[in-house]
Symmetry: C2
Amino acid sequence: MATVVTFEGKRKTPSLEPLLSLCADDMAQVDREILARMRSPVALIPELANHLVGAGGKRMRPLLTVAAARLCGYTATDDRHIKLATCVEFIHSATLLHDDVVDVSALRRGKPSANAVWGDKASVLVGDFLFTRSFELMVDVGSLDILGVLSRASSTIAEGEVLQLVTQRDISTPEATYLEVIKAKTAKLFAAAAEVGAMVAGRDGPERVALESFGMNLGIAFQLVDDVLDYGGKAAKLGKNIGDDFREGKITLPVVLAFRRGNDGERKFWVKALERGEIGDSDLDHAIGLMTKHRALEDTVSRARHYGAIAKDALALFPGSTMKQALEEAVEFCITRTH
Amino acid sequence: MATVVTFEGKRKTPSLEPLLSLCADDMAQVDREILARMRSPVALIPELANHLVGAGGKRMRPLLTVAAARLCGYTATDDRHIKLATCVEFIHSATLLHDDVVDVSALRRGKPSANAVWGDKASVLVGDFLFTRSFELMVDVGSLDILGVLSRASSTIAEGEVLQLVTQRDISTPEATYLEVIKAKTAKLFAAAAEVGAMVAGRDGPERVALESFGMNLGIAFQLVDDVLDYGGKAAKLGKNIGDDFREGKITLPVVLAFRRGNDGERKFWVKALERGEIGDSDLDHAIGLMTKHRALEDTVSRARHYGAIAKDALALFPGSTMKQALEEAVEFCITRTH
C-alpha cells in the first residue's frame, strides 16, 4: 500500500478526504444543483436519474472542476463553477446509463442498474435527457471557449465508446489501442473537468494547460486501476461484479498483457473465453491465475503509477497549498483505492 | 386532394419541389457538410451514420433552416447557415437512431434500420456521437443565443421521448397529452430549425418569432399526418410498415379519437390490442375499420390543416417572394403528402 507523508511527517493511507473536505461547501451546492436540474414534469426522469445521479458515487469529475477552480483562485460569488461541475456529472451519468444498456449490466455501484429496473428504453432516453440538460447548463455559463472544451470532450467520449465496442472481443487489440479507448472514454472527461475549472477562474494560460494534463493523466490512471479492480480482490467493495469485463469480452490492459506474455495454450484459453465468449465456471479463476503468473495486474498498476506521477508533476507550477496537496493525495488515492 | 394556385392561376398538387429547388445550392452544401462531419477514425461511425444520414430522406429540418435564413435575406458568404442546418439534421438523426432502438423497429425509410443491421449497442453509441457532433457544430457557429435555442430544443425532445415512452400503451391518454408529446418530440425541432435560420440572418425580432411559430405549427401538422399515414393506404410509399404504431402500442391521435368515440365493445378491443398488446391477424384491419367509422383519420388530418393554417399565417409579415410562396406550399405538401 502506498503512503503519503503528512505535514507532521507521518505516513498514512492516501485518501480522498482532504479534497472532499476542502470542497465540501461547493460539492453540497453541486448536489443541490444536480437535483434541481433533474426536475421534469415527466416523473420518470427525476425518478430514474435520481437512482443513478442522486445515489452519489465518488463524484470524482465534478470534484475536479470545483477543486481546479479553487486551486486557480476562483472567488467569484456567482455559481458558474457549480454549474460546470453539474454539467460534467450529467455528461458522465448519461454515459453510464448508455454504457449499462450497451454492456447489459445488472449492477452499478452495488445497486441494480437503471436499465435492470426501468428497462433499456428508459435508460437510453433519460441518458439523452441528461446529455441535453448538460448542454443547457453550459450555455447558461455563457462561455463559448468552455462550450468548445466540453462539446469536444463529449464527442470524444462518444467516439471512444464506439471504438470500445469495435475492439470488444478482439484479443489482438494492442496496448496502444486500449490506451486510446480509455483516453477517449474516461480520461478526456477528467481532463475537461479540470480544464474548465481553470477557465472559469480566468486562468486561460499555463494553469489551464497544466490542469488539462493533470486531469488527463489522472483519468488514465483511474481507468487502469478500475480495470485491475475488475479482476482484483478489492472489487467487491466497489459494488461491482468481479469479472464483468471478462464476461463481456472487454479487452483491458490486464488481458492484453496476460495474452501477449502467455504461451500458445494460454492464448487459446483467452481466445476461447474472450473472443468466443465460451466461459465455464472456473474460467474467471483461471484467468486471474494467468494474470498473476504474468504479473499483468501488478504491471497495470505500475502503468497507472506512471500516469499518476505525470499528473502530480503537472501541478508543479502551482504554489504550495492545502488544495494542491489534496489534489496530489487524490492521485495516490485513485491508484491505491479499494472503492 | 388539396391544391395550390400557381402564379398562372392553375391548380396543381402541392409539392416540396419549389422549396427544394430554391434551396438546391444550400442543400448540396449541407450534404457535403454532413458527410465531412461524420468522419471519424473509428470506421463504424461513418459507416452506420451514412446508412441513416447519408441515405437522405426529405431533410425537412435542415431545409427549414436554410429556407428561413434565405427568407430573412441571409447573404453572408460564410457557411454558418449550412453548419446550423447540418447540426439540426444530426440532432434529428441521433433521435431516430435512439428511437429505433426504443421502438425495436426493423425498418426506417423502407430500408432495414441501423439497429437491425449493426445492433442496438452501435445505434445507441453512434446516436450519442451525432448528438455531440451537433453541439460541436453549434459551438463553431459561435452564437450563445443560437446555442440556447438548440440546446433547449434538444432537451425538450429528450423529455418528449420519455413522455411518449410513459404514455405508451395507455389508452386513456388525453388529446392534450398526445399534443404535448408531438410538440416536444417533433415540432420543437422544426421550430428551432426555422428560428435559428432567422437568427443567423440577424433577424432577432418579429421575424424570429414568426419563423419559430411557423416551424412549430408545421411540425405539429407534419406529425399528425405521419400518425395518420401509419394507418393509411399511402403509407407503403413512405417505406414504413403500416401498423407499426399499432403494434408498438403507440397512442396517437387517430387512436385517441377512435377510442373516445367508440362504444364499450370497441373500447374493449382497443384496450386488448394497445394496452395488453394482444394482436391477432385481422386486428389491424379492424382498427382501421373503426377509425374509418368514427372519422378518426379524416379528423386528424383536419387538425393538421388547422395547424398548417397557423403556420402559413405566421409568414404574413414577410413580403411576397418565391421563397415565401414555396414555404407556404411546403405546408400544403406536408398535409397532403404521400411520402
